[in-house]
Every structure is written in C-alpha cells, then in structure tokens.
Amino acid sequence: MTTVISVATSVPVLGYLLSPLRRPGREDAWISLGPLSLVPDGRPVEVPYLTEVVDGWIRETVVRRAIVLRSDSDVPTVFSGTCPHLNCNVRWVDQEGRFVCPCHGGVFDRDGRVVAGPPPRGLDRLDARVENGVLLVREV
C-alpha cells in the first residue's frame, strides 16, 4: 500500500516538475524580411522582425533580429543575433567590421565565424530562401 501511495503521488508531482522538458511542437513558419533587393551589399545588416513565441501560458509577438549578409549566391546568409555562448545579443561594430558580444567579449567576423572569446561556435544560421524576390527566414 505504501508503494502504491508513493507512486500515485510521486508520478504526477515529478511529471509536473519535469514538464518543461517536453518541447512544444514547432510551427516552422517562414517569416518575411522584405524584398531582397533592399538589402545592401557589402556588410551585414541587422533586420528586426516580428515573430510569435509561446512563453509558458503566454502567446505573444516579440521583436527579434536577424543579421542578413548578401553574398554571391542567390540566397543571402542569415544569422541569429544571439551569441551562442550565453545568449546575449551581439552588436555589429562598423569601424571594426565584426560582431562583438557585450557579455564575455566574444568576437565574430562578418561571416559569423568566431574570431576571439569563449563562444563555442559561430553565430547560428537561420534557414533562408527567396520567393518572388522576397527574403524569407525560418528559425531553426
């Protein structure tokens, strides 16, 4: 009987506590960043966009930033603006031609590769495609 009582109480309690481990299904929506022709060549451009996120019991639209870099290929490279080290927002420093993280000094070159500091990898890339001249991205 003791075992039954223990299991009957501990299973729901543990399940309740561990519920954040269950990832919500992703909708994988493509988000428009606008006509590709308006993205300048030569240097990365930070483009804010609106996306819907589920924060626990709150579904809200938030502003995020993508970093768009046009290259020779038809589809530009699109980076996330979040440092892969401890999730601070990186900043593009025009004079130095590189991205800098204000937290632990991570530095990335214009192609998102780690140049210095503790980040374990380069800037994360978003899926990108161009449809009818409009740049679309998808958070990975």
Binding site: G34, V47, P48, D55, G56, R91, P118
Partner: protein
C-alpha cells in the same frame, strides 16, 4: 481557555528559557569580532519582513512585474524605503557573511567540536547566494533579465544533461513567464523553507558548543561573562549600525531600477550583481572556452563549495593559532585575493555603454557633477554661482584657467579643480560657455529634451517613462522595416513626421532612416519636448497639405531667451494632439501609397475625428483631460500640473479606468466558448491611438 494552574508552569518555563538564553556565559575574549553572526541574523529578519511587505504589492508576471515594482517604489507610501532596505540588505548580507566566514576561518573556529556548525553555516551561505540570484530577476528590468539569461545558460553547459537542466530552470526555452514564477516560488517559499531550519540548527549548535573564544591555546579562558549585557549590547549596537548603513544607502543612493526587460536590446551591457562578478569573469579566461566552460561555470564553483564544506574534516591540524596554520591561511588568502581580483577585473573591463548623441562636454559636466552646485536657467540658486548668466564667449580663456585652478582665482573657494587638460578641458569650457546660448540666443529649431530637463526635471522624468520617449523603439523599428519594404523605401517621412519630428527641422530623414533600418543607434530622441511645444497650430499653416505636422519654433525660442511661457491656447485642445493622433489622413494615405486617395488613413491616426463625434467632445473633455492627468490617470485636481508621462492603453491602471471587461465562458468537450463584453468608457474607440 487553559486553567490558571497549568499556565503558571508554562510561563515560568518560558521565563527560564529566556533567562537561560540571555544569561548564558560567554568566554571573556569574545567581543566585537563576534557580532557578525548576530548581524546576519538581524539582516535575515529584516529581509523576511521587507520581503513579505514587498510581496503584498508584487505581481510575478513579466508584463506586470516591472510595473508593480515601479508602483511599490514610486506610489506606495514608504515603498522606496521598504524596497531600498530589501535591495541593499541583500548586498550587505553577503558582505557581513563573508566577514563572518573569514573571522571563523582565521580564528580556526570551524575545528572540533564545531565542525557541524561550520557545515550548516556554509549551507546557509550557499542558500543566501541562491536567494540573491533568484531575487534580482523579480524586478524584471534589464539587469534582472540579462543576468538571468546568462546565469541560467551557464547551467546549460553541463555535459549530457545541460539542455534538460536549462529547460527545467527556465521552465522552457527562454527566460520568460515560467522562469519568473519559478524564481518567485524559490525566493518566497522554497529558499525560506531551507533557511529557517538551517538558521535554527546553526543557532542551536552555537549555543551547544558555545561561542569560540579567540585562540584559547595562548589565552586560556579564565573568566566567563553573561551574554546579557556584555555581548548583547555589542550585538544590538552592530545591528543598529547595519540599519543606519541601509537607511543611508536607501536615502542617498536610492534603489536602482533599470529600463524594463527587453530581449531585443543590443545596446545593453549585461552584468550580474557584484558578488557574482568573480564567477562571471572566470568564464572570460581562455582556459574555460569551449567545452571546458562547464568546468569554469559549474565544476569549479561546486568544487569550491565542497572544499569549504569539508574544511573541518581535511584540515586536521588541531591548532587554531595563525602561526601554526600558515599553509591553511595562505591558501585561504590566495583564494580570497583571486576572487577579489576577478571581481575587480570584471568591473574594470565593463565597457562603456555605446556612445550617445551627447557631447563630451555634456558627459564631463554630468560626470563632474557640476549641476550639484551650479543652477541652470530657471533653477533656484544653489551653493555655487548660477551658470544661467554666464560666462560669455569672450570669457572662455578665463574659464579654462579657472577650471584648472579655482583656488588661484578665489583663495578658499570650495570649487574643486577639475583636473582636466587638453581636449577634455576645451570640451567642458565649450559646454559651459554654450549653456546660456543653448537655452537662449542660439536655440534654433529643436532643443533636446535633455536640455529642457535642466529646468524642467520633473516633466523630463515623466516623459522618459512615456511612449513618446520610446517612439523609435524596437516595435517601431520592426514596423518601419516592413513599411520600408512595402513602399519601396519611398515614403519613410510618413512615419518619421510623427515618430521623429525633429527630422523636419534637421532635414536628416534619410540619415535617420538608414540608422533605423540598420538597427544602429539613432541621432533622434523621438518625440521630445519641442515636438509639442514648437508645434504650429494647424489653422496657422498656409499649406493645407502640410497642416498636420509642422513647426514654429518661435515661441519656444522666445521662452528660452526671455523665459516667456511657450504655452498657446491650442495646447489645451484636442487638435494639438490631432497633429499626429489624427494625422491628416487623406494626405497620409496618399503619401503612404503614392496614390491620391480620399479613403480614411490608417486606423492609428483617426482618434481625434472619432472623438469629435462623442459627448466627450461636446462636454469639453479633451485628450489632455485624461492623458495628462497623473501617471495612473486618477487624480483630477484642477491645479495639478500637466503630467508628461502620457499614460495610454499599455498602462494597466489607466486602461482599467477606461474599460470594463466581463468574460463569461463554458466548456463544451475540448472547446471553451467565451463571451467577452467590453464597455468602453472613453471618448474614442479602443484600441486606437
């Protein structure tokens, strides 16, 4: 209810227990160094009391946490003192705890028979650090948010289970609503439930083994004194000193609250509270880059705690004397110095925030606190000479020499030497010399809100909280990008006319547009003071197509030169707000689409014309009647000065005054049907702008 016979022994035993507590003999050598423990107890009790008081008015949801903390700080009677005491006591607690730990370590008081006391004490130390970490998320300001983003992500570096751990701590992928409620429950329920028994056991052990006298080996205890009054007086005096320090910090330094948490901010430099800086800096060491981040972020701190916990068991040296414990003291000293060194290095390496539009002279003027002694135009006289009436341009050389050596000009002057040379000295001289000009003869177009703040500090502080001050914020930027793409980048002035009116005067719309699209710092302050106070009355404007937003800086310039009031009759009328909130819709629509159109403009721009059709308009209740009446829109005294925080629908208390909501619903299988009834008590549709 009890009978008298059973009460007497109960009272007697309580009295005996108190007497035993107060009169417990303590060794003669015990003195001021031993007051630290009781200081910690005092601070813990203070934290419990102030914490409960704060919880009465705190709302642990992201949208409201910040507003409730501001409400506590700015509106609730003594709220800033209660919050200030709680905030500063958290830091002071760590200071006193470290001193206490250091004292016990140096005295060797963790050795037999007091090993258990030490172990419980270290557990308390860790619990109080957890209190600090969970506590400073609660205000939901920038510091809270970013420190938690970084702090929790460190847990994600644990191999194999890191990701699961991170999700469990955050309650999901990101720092958000579930994180806040988790931290709230930890801070208010779980951690207090740990601290209370730990404190009780620690106190019981202290009573059982007695307070350790300093170095008994060389100074044997020959005399015992009762705890009361000999030690109790010192303890009470020390607690009084701590309270005085807390009040001084609260009243002199204030209680910090940064801007509301913004996950998209790129100009914020995240830093944790001072006691976590060594750990923060540790992760900057190249040895902990990449996969070894787990070692610096988790393993090393955990090992340190374990080493501290086990100290009495591996330090078997029976002596407490420093001379016979050189290795232990040296190791402790090295560790302590390294921690302080890391903390100081982190503090030194904190970069300055990204450059603002302020000049170097302005920065120096503020940094040297010149305004503490010198009044600007319109301000009451302060202890030093007013800067409103001088110096003139021809006095620059004199001013430069004076700033270098004030005592050389006026022996005995309280004015300190600035210590500036070269370009910095020139910058400050230029700024001071231009002060009068800035506020008087030289004003052209739009003075910045910061300049107005020299005399109108209250209005400036109110304005800073408003959406006018954030008219170029991240949401606007996102919409601006979309607008740019939809219009092919041809009609950007349409947005900027209202969101950054100074572009019309500065004629720099292309430059500002580029900055906004590239996510860079902008050279506009958004809708500043002059946007309204230099606004031209629509009826005065000769060109109907440009009636909506155009400016006449004349009255403002006269105000700055001659201190005349820049108020004009139409400032109390709705059509003043209509310049933007009823943005000449026909014109605006054609402007946005590039086509001539008679259709109504975008819905955000029609509020005044809809108001005109209501009874509010007929009764003379204007925009200003509600949106410039105190922050919460509750005070309606006629003599109340106009409130420049412009509360709107994002201000919950304000919205509650304007709307009655009733929600009824029922469940049908897996679906819920709800009916929402809204009674709009305002003079315009909601939502509207």
């Amino acid at each position: 209810m009890g009978d008298r016979n059973s009460e007497r022994p109960l009272l007697a035993s309580a009295r005996d227990a108190i007497a035993s507590f107060l009169l417990k003999p303590v060794p003669e050598g015990v003195g001021w160094p031993h007051v630290l423990g009781s200081g910690i107890l005092f601070l813990l009790v203070l934290q419990a009391i102030t914490g409960v008081l704060l919880a009465i008015n705190y709302d642990p949801t992201p949208g409201r946490a910040y507003a409730s903390v501001r409400y506590i700080t700015e509106t609730v009677a003594f709220g800033h003192i209660i919050r200030g005491l709680h905030h500063w006591a958290a830091s002071l607690l760590i200071v006193v705890l470290l001193l206490h730990l250091g004292r016990v370590f140096i005295y060797g008081a963790y050795k037999r028979p007091r090993q258990a006391t030490w172990v419980v004490g270290v557990c308390l130390f860790v619990t109080l650090l957890a209190f600090g970490f969970t506590g400073y998320l609660l205000p939901w300001d920038q510091k809270a948010y970013w420190a938690t983003v970084v702090g929790t992500k460190i847990a994600g570096s644990v191999p194999v289970v890191g990701d699961a751990l991170l999700r469990l701590i955050r309650g999901g992928d990101m720092v958000g609503a579930p994180t806040l409620t988790r931290f709230y429950v930890l801070h208010l329920v779980i951690l207090p439930a740990l601290v209370v028994p730990l404190v009780l056991v620690h106190l019981w052990l202290v009573r059982r083994h007695g307070i350790a006298p300093p170095w008994e080996e060389v100074r044997p205890v020959t005399r015992w004194l009762p705890f009361h009054p000999f030690q109790l007086v010192r303890d009470v005096a020390f607690s009084g000193l701590l309270l005085a320090i807390l009040f001084a910090l609260t009243l002199k330094v204030g209680v910090p609250l940064e801007a509301v948490a913004d996950s998209s901010a790129t100009d914020y430099i995240p830093r944790p509270e001072w006691y976590f800086l060594p750990l923060f800096q540790l992760l900057k060491l190249p040895v902990f880059y990449g996969r070894l981040e787990f070692v610096g972020g988790v393993l090393l701190p955990a090992a340190t705690i374990l080493l501290l916990l086990a100290l009495p068991f591996y330090d078997r040296n029976p002596s407490c004397l420093p001379a016979r414990r050189r290795f232990a003291l040296a190791a402790g000293g090295v560790f302590f110095t390294a921690a302080i060194g890391l903390g100081v290095q982190a503090w030194i390496e904190t970069p300055a925030p990204p450059a603002t539009a302020r000049t170097r002279g302005e920065q120096l003027f503020e940094g040297l606190r010149c305004q503490s002694c010198h009044a600007g135009p319109g301000e009451e006289q302060k202890s030093g000479p007013s800067l409103a009436s001088g110096p003139s341009e021809r006095e620059r050389e004199w001013l430069a020499a004076f700033l270098v050596n004030p005592a050389g000009f006026f022996p005995g002057s309280e004015m300190p030497a600035t210590g500036l040379t070269g370009e910095d000295l020139d910058a400050l001289v230029n700024h001071v010399a231009n002060l009068r000009a800035d506020y008087g003869t030289r004003v052209q177009g739009f003075p910045s809100a910061r300049a107005c703040a020299t005399c109108h500090r209250r209005q400036f502080e109110e304005w800073k909280t408003s959406y006018h001050a954030r008219s170029l914020g991240t949401t606007f930027r996102a919409m601006f990008v979309i607008f740019n793409y939809n219009t092919g980048g041809q009609r950007l002035e349409y947005c900027l006319n209202c969101h950054a009116p100074d572009v019309k005067v500065k004629d720099n719309a292309p430059q500002l547009s580029r900055q906004l699209l590239a996510g860079e710092s902008v050279t506009s302050e958004g809708i500043g003071c002059a946007a309204c106070h230099a606004l031209r009355d629509a009826e005065e404007h000769p060109d109907p197509a440009l009636q909506s937003v155009s400016f006449d800086p004349g009255p403002l310039e006269r105000h700055l030169k001659e201190q005349t009031k820049p108020l004009r009759p139409f400032f109390k009328e709705a059509r003043m707000c209509g310049a933007c909130h009823d943005y000449n819709a026909t014109y605006a629509t054609s402007y946005a689409t590039g086509r001539s159109s008679s259709a109504a403009g975008p819905p955000c721009c029609t509020v005044v014309r809809t108001w005109e059709q209501t009874a509010f308009a007929r009764r003379g209740v204007t925009c200003q009647s509600c949106h410039m009446k105190s922050e919460m829109g509750v005070t309606t005294r006629e003599d109340e000065p106009a409130y420049h925080g412009f509360p709107g629908p994002r201000n919950e208390a304000f919205l509650r005054k304007g709307v009655d909501l009733a929600v009824t619903g029922f469940r049908q299988g897996s679906q819920v049907e709800a009916t929402v009834a809204m009674v709009n008590k305002t003079g315009h549709p909601i939502p509207d702008g």
